[in-house]
Symmetry: C2
Subunit: 233 residues, 2 copies
DNA sequence: TTGACGGGTGTACGGCGTACACCTACCGTG
DNA sequence: CACGGTAGGTGTACGCCGTACACCCGTCAA
């Protein structure tokens, strides 16, 4: 056997060069088959035929890896369809999200834990929420009603159970947070909603919306629906 | 300084004897102040002034500890009130559950992960669900409607986002599972519901209910409610 | 007196995330 | 052509984790 060529040994397996996408794909595959407990940097490295520390040239740490995995999942959700009423558009999108969640049963737990730890959801999640808001707006919903609607849909949108936007004003600001103008450009609907809510109540800047009210709003909407089906009251 | 008495050194702090409740309480307190990531057997032992392995005389392992912590939380939910209509009874109970979840923000993530790993929720959770079903039944709901209602309420009942009872027929049976007759005695409403669902569809024993149908049922109930508020369609 | 046993201890192992120093192949520039 | 920078893979090492296993001691029934 002659000596190796300049590009990657031919005696060993050629091994395509690593990159963030390949790392994330391997991580998602590993989680799919063994659950999130079976996911470790060392195992990911192993299936990629690489030493564990090599991964850190492509993801900063395990938390960023988890964030990246969430983005991969969100990208699997079908984009919104254009030419229908809001109701079927929302319906299709949510059912598509559900199919994604069924393919990746570990997702809700990871999304839950990561959302609690970050000040802002990942860009992909933001985009998803923004376009969902856009569907309601295009359907003629008032900004207030959209706000309530998003809270009501909460757990069906991505599996997270409590608030989408918790009060993050007490956490120290993310060093590389997005400037407001870019925020407004990238997520117009979220921005519109956030502004309206902030205006609505002249409270201190921060939390923005009354989570307790939103929870009860959603609860009562559900109970009223059940009552109607039951035919009492 | 003289020698110690027979019952616990008096020079060191007396240190009450350990038991499962004290272990669980310490674990919950630790999670409350540092999140679930800050929870480790070693830290629990430390705050209890004991060596890590001592905990294992009271809980089998960390998973059982987590299950026990969930039970502690569920016990914090107010018991159902008797003399009102179903709607306010459910409303109060769910709001009480929400207050508990707000006190323990780490709870949804833990409940999520533990429910996925067990064949049956812990007894305390079962009891909670059973009594919730009982409220609907006492309100005159048909067993089918209760079934749908529980799915609809899903994420608001305890923060779990997907199915309460996933298909566990593929998992090897829990060695110390509860015999059916005890099941029926302890959780009469759950049993009634499970029987009805199993009868309903003459499918193989197992999963029992059509999760996809239930998801869409809940989704449509929500969308219809929003539509009514919006005044279109 | 003894022997079982409930409950706290000590040691040790394998796995984890990751800091840090290194090495090497490549590239644009002089 | 020489050369320094840089991107990306390597190796070692540290401190934390859960927990298996052997031990030890105080209590109490026989």
């Amino acid at each position: 056997m002659v000596e190796m060529t300049t590009q990657a040994g031919s005696a060993t397996r050629p091994r395509a060069p690593l990159n963030k996408e390949r790392v994330l794909a391997a991580a998602v595959a590993l989680a799919d088959e063994g659950g999130v407990d079976a996911l470790s940097m060392r195992k990911i490295a192993q299936v990629l035929g690489v030493v564990p520390m090599a991964l850190y040239k492509h993801v900063a740490n395990k938390n960023e890896l988890l964030d990246g995995m969430i983005d991969v999942l969100v990208a699997e959700i079908d984009p919104p369809v254009g030419d229908t009423d809001w109701k079927t558009a929302v319906r299709r999108r949510v059912l598509s999200a559900r199919r994604m969640l069924l393919r990746h049963p570990w997702a809700p737990e990871v999304i839950e834990s990561r959302i609690k730890a970050r000040t802002t959801p990942t860009p992909a999640v933001m985009e998803y929420l923004d376009s969902m808001i856009g569907i309601f707006r295009a359907g003629g919903f008032s900004i207030d009603l959209v706000h309530h609607a998003m809270h009501v849909m909460g757990s069906r949108l991505l599996g997270f159970s409590q608030e989408l936007f918790e009060d993050t004003s007490d956490r120290e600001p993310d060093p590389d947070a997005m400037p407001p103008e870019e925020m407004a450009a990238r997520y117009p609907h979220i921005t519109e909603l956030a502004m309206a809510v902030a205006h609505d109540q002249e409270s201190v800047v921060g939390s923005g919306c009354d989570d307790q009210f939103e929870f009860e709003f959603a609860l009562d909407l559900t109970l009223d629906g059940l009552e109607r089906l039951h035919g009492t009251g």
